[in-house]
């Protein structure tokens, strides 16, 4: 510390104190001025749902920053689409996305959506069969044919649906009653658009009918019985899938996983029919259209046919082309191969059948949707094209009440910890203890106001581990005082007067404090950068308080002690000052005659 000659030996403690006072007051004023008086609480304290999604991919390189950013954007949109305000979506570490949804409207629904939604494909259906129920071996082929009669009613519904596409074309009239059976037939009936050709639709629907019947018949034919469909596998399972298809039992939760490993190959999938309460399994062709090519999907109410809620899709150029080609092919197929499965996370959410090539980039999925179901499917379709697979690694739902309990316990623990430290320093350091208490108070005010302001500016949220970090930091802050105090006392023991002792102790204490605080800060910084989840909040708090510790000891404690050393109470070593040379066992200076011997010199010899 090269100091100009004019400067007093112990610097200008008043200036440093004034500086930190101004800073503290400014921060507190800013806090009140901006109206953010409490730190933003994390989900685990405020209540809400916190979801940690972990990306996984066959291709390790696919998990990169840009893909993660895309996923965050998509999830963000999706969560917000549910009207959840202040939902927080951010990446953590290399391959995690944290979604924090505060307690509120739709949080539950949003939480489900965020997690369940990852990848969306349109795949042609090759075959389907009910699963998880005893399929009577002797189910005659007559049965499906029996279902042909409901199919008769289904087919007009096919012709009806083109009208849904918006062109108020003729066929709307006949649609109303048959549509009921169509909706019953499955979740959805998709259909053609703008230039819909009613006559083509009529013929197309003719061929499509059995497929609708397939599921419809089950419900219709055996309503009294437990829902045991008697239909065997429909369609042709490709040879390479046969074994897998036969073995798949979708009623077993463990088997309902994502089998969509390769977009260019056939795959199997499960689907739940909520109306019949049974599971279906599907054999699906290669991906025809990717969810990424859906540019827009929205839920709309079909006013024309009063058929209920539906989902209107718009594709981008590539999607339109693929969709037109595929629907063209599918339309000519025999049921069930004329269906288009919408596969989400390996699960078939809807499998509308196709009546003709759908060009123009628009399509409608209709069915017996409630408004909620329709908007949720639309939401999934619009934002469903995540570039990566995500698994929910951690989902925590905390009610505000319980979070509040934890916060209270944490604060109580902090208060008691603080009280114990205060008590200990008062008993051990007496007058100096007051200085350390003042330092702790300044530190606490700074920590609190900075946390509050960070909450408002960068969205720092105080979670439970962060509270822990703050409590633990009481110890770190007090440590620095102890290091300095002990140095001063060492000097006093050596026989120095208090004022020079305070000055001489400082450079040595400063070095120790800086080195050890650097180690603490390094630890916090490394943890913050590398870690995930709860660890990060903790590391952040620890790092912040370590920095503040340095600020407080340099700008507050040291100047304050310098000032106090000029006061008689301390300088003369009053027994309650904590710097009583007698009590410290100071001895007269022996080696250096330059040091003036203190009043207590004689005491030691006695």
């Amino acid at each position: 510390m090269a100091t100009p000659k004019s400067r007093p030996r112990d610097g200008y403690p008043g200036r440093a104190l004034a500086l930190i006072l101004v800073v503290t007051v400014a921060l507190v004023a800013l806090m009140f001025g901006t109206g953010h008086r409490t730190p933003r609480l994390g989900i685990d304290l405020a209540g809400g749902t916190s979801i940690t999604l972990t990306a996984s991919s066959k291709d390790k390189n696919a998990i990169n920053q840009s893909n993660m950013d895309i996923a965050v954007g998509i999830i963000q949109k999706r969560v917000n689409a549910f009207g959840v305000s202040e939902a927080e979506v951010q990446t953590q570490g290399n391959n995690n996305i944290i979604v924090n949804i505060p307690k509120g409207t739709n949080s539950q629904q949003a939480a489900e959506q965020v997690g369940t939604t990852a990848k969306l494909y349109f795949r042609p259906v090759l075959a389907l069969a009910p699963t998880g129920v005893q399929v009577p071996p002797a189910s005659p082929s007559a049965n499906p044919s029996g279902s042909a009669s409901p199919s008769g009613s289904a087919s007009p519904s096919g012709s009806a649906s083109p009208s849904a596409s918006g062109s108020a074309s003729a066929s709307a009239g006949g649609s109303a009653s048959p549509s009921a059976s169509a909706t019953k037939a499955g979740r959805a009936v998709s259909d053609a658009l703008k230039a819909a050709d009613p006559s083509a639709a009529a013929t197309g629907s003719g061929s499509a009918a059995p497929s609708a019947a397939a599921s419809g018949s089950a419900a219709a034919s055996a309503p009294a019985l437990p829902p045991v469909p008697t239909t065997p596998t429909e369609g042709t399972v490709p040879p390479e899938l046969q074994q897998q298809f036969a073995a798949l039992d979708c009623s077993q939760a463990g088997q309902r996983q994502d089998y969509q490993t390769d977009e260019t190959k056939n795959a199997v999938a499960c689907s739940y029919d909520a109306e019949q309460k049974i599971w279906y399994k599907f054999a699906l062709g290669p991906v025809a259209v990717k969810g990424a090519d859906v540019s827009k999907a929205q839920a709309g109410y079909d006013t024309q046919r009063a058929q209920g809620w539906e989902v209107q899709l718009t594709f981008n150029d590539k999607g339109s082309k693929d969709f037109a080609t595929t629907t063209g092919t599918l339309a000519g197929m025999q049921a069930p191969a004329n269906q288009f499965a919408i596969v989400l996370d390996g699960k078939v959410v809807s499998h509308p059948y196709v009546q003709q090539s759908i060009t123009g980039g628009n399509a409608v999925i209709s069915g017996s949707f409630t408004q909620e179901q329709a908007s949720s499917l639309a939401n999934v379709l619009s934002y469903g094209a995540l570039p990566l697979d995500f698994t929910k690694s951690d989902v925590t739902t905390v009610s505000a009440a319980l979070g509040g309990d934890q916060l209270h316990a944490g604060l109580l623990a902090g208060a008691i910890g603080l009280a114990l430290v205060v008590l200990y320093s008062l008993v051990y350091y007496r007058g100096l203890g007051l200085v350390s208490i003042a330092g702790l108070v300044v530190s606490a005010i700074l920590t609190y106001s900075i946390m509050t302001l960070l909450g408002a500016s960068i969205g720092f949220a105080l979670d439970l581990p962060a509270v822990c970090g703050a409590i633990v930091a009481i110890g770190i802050t007090a440590d620095s005082f102890i290091v300095y105090f002990e140095r001063i006392r060492d000097e006093v023991r050596e026989g120095a007067q208090l004022r020079p002792a305070v000055q001489r102790a400082w450079p040595r204490a400063r070095r120790t404090i800086l080195v050890s605080d650097f180690v603490s800060f390094l630890c916090a910084a490394v943890l913050y950068v590398v870690s995930v989840g709860k660890v990060q909040g903790f590391a952040f708090t620890l790092g912040l308080t370590t920095l503040l510790d340095v600020v407080v000891i340099f700008l507050f404690t040291k100047p304050l002690i310098t000032l106090l050393a000029r006061r008689k109470f301390f300088a003369n070593g009053h027994p309650w000052s904590g710097l009583d040379p007698k009590r410290l066992g100071a001895r007269p200076p022996l080696r250096s005659s330059r040091r003036r011997s203190t009043t207590s010199a004689a005491v030691k010899e006695a």
Binding site: T52, S399, G414, L464, D490, V515, G585
Partner: protein, 375 residues
């Protein structure tokens, strides 16, 4: 209290001195035994991993008067078997842990619990974790640990010297092994909170060690220019001087952690607060012990291997032999006794822990003992 602060000054003056460095074999064997128990415990019993590592869900139900058996009956009914763990958390809440094998969706369970137990769904907290989450956190923690160790070792090697960095690193690993060992042997549950606790030990353990090393470094600065004491003795003196400080810093660090452990944990039962503070409490205690009894003795041992320090040790030994001879030859005269009193104080700082050295009139002997007899 006054006796304690008195101890502080007596330690500082060297009137009371604990020979930490000299008894290093004792400390090493104590640490060795603890570490061995820890490793055996770790390899035989293993860690009791929390739900974050196994996967599953935890439901916390807040309802006054709800008993564990009621909750157990109900959850058994909901999931259809009796594999779930139900416990009371100590604050009147019931904690239900369901393993990942149960595929019942958490919403369904919450709904069912809510209606069966007549609790508003808002009073039920649910946590669902995948089986890999704990490993994910641990892996990141381990990565952080390795990066931190490399960086801090490099830093200490530059700020101090490589031997200190090495000794600090050994002490750090020692603390971690002991803490993890305690977890294995006692069977505390390891959760991500525990991992946070482990990680914090890193910073703290080194903090403590750094404070001690700083004094040791200062005490041994111009060591080669004298021949009164060896490195080990100087290091031990530094250790004793900072003993009160080390104890104080440890006590002050432990107080909030203890509050967290006993008050926070006692009120809430199992939870993040408890997990972090338990690991910290064990780790901090181990850290205080290791910085005094492992890091510094090890440092002294490493330093004594260097040629300079060996030479110093030799010179000190020679000098002491000479002193002893001189003392025996001369005996004590009246004025020697008076001077001795002064010298003793000074010397006792120098040769802290070397009881028996105090009574040798060092500087006087230097003159008298000189064979050439220049006077």
């Amino acid at each position: 209290m006054s006796r304690f602060s008195n101890l502080g000054h007596r330690l500082y003056q060297g009137e009371v001195s604990f020979d930490f460095v000299g008894r290093r074999k004792l400390w090493y064997s104590i640490s060795g035994v603890i570490a061995l128990v820890a490793i055996v415990g770790l390899s035989t019993v293993g860690l009791h991993l929390g739900i974050e590592f196994k996967g599953g869900s935890v439901y916390t139900v807040a309802k006054p008067g709800l008993t564990v058996s009621q909750a157990q009956d109900d959850i058994n009914k909901i999931i259809g078997d009796s594999t779930s763990q139900v416990q009371s958390t100590g604050d009147g809440k019931i904690r239900i842990q369901v393993s990942a094998q149960e595929k019942a969706s958490s919403d369904a369970v919450v709904k069912q619990l809510s209606s069966d137990l007549d609790v508003p769904a808002a009073n039920i907290d649910a946590q669902v974790v995948g089986p890999s989450w704990g490993h994910e956190i641990s892996q990141k923690a381990l990565l952080g640990l390795v990066i931190f160790m490399v960086l801090v070792t490099a830093y200490l090697a530059i700020a101090f010297e490589w031997r200190m960095a090495l000794a600090a690193l050994v002490a750090l690993i020692h603390d971690l092994v002991i803490t993890i060992g305690v977890y294995a042997v006692v069977g505390f549950e390891v959760s991500p909170g525990t991992v946070i606790g482990f990680l914090t030990i890193l910073g703290y353990s080194l903090y403590d060690t750094v404070v001690v090393f700083d004094t040791v470094k200062e005490n041994t600065k111009d060591l080669e220019k004298q021949n009164k004491r060896t490195y080990s003795e100087a290091a031990n003196a530094g250790l004793n001087q900072t003993l009160v400080r080390s104890l104080n810093t440890t006590v002050v660090a432990l107080l909030p952690v203890a509050a967290l452990l006993f008050i926070g944990g006692g009120l809430l039962g199992a939870g993040t607060l408890n997990d972090i503070s338990l690991a910290l409490f064990i780790g901090l205690s181990a850290g205080a012990y290791s910085s005094i009894c492992v890091a510094t003795p090890l440092l002294a041992q490493l330093k004594e291997q260097t040629p300079q320090m060996r030479a110093l040790a030799k010179r000190v030994a020679q000098r002491r032999a000479a002193d002893a001879k001189a003392a025996a030859a001369v005996g004590s005269t009246a004025d020697a006794v008076e001077e001795q009193a002064d010298e003793a104080v000074e010397d006792s700082v120098a040769a802290a822990g070397m009881v028996g050295q105090r009574n040798q009139p060092v500087s006087r002997a230097r003159g008298k003992g000189r064979p050439s007899g220049k006077r």
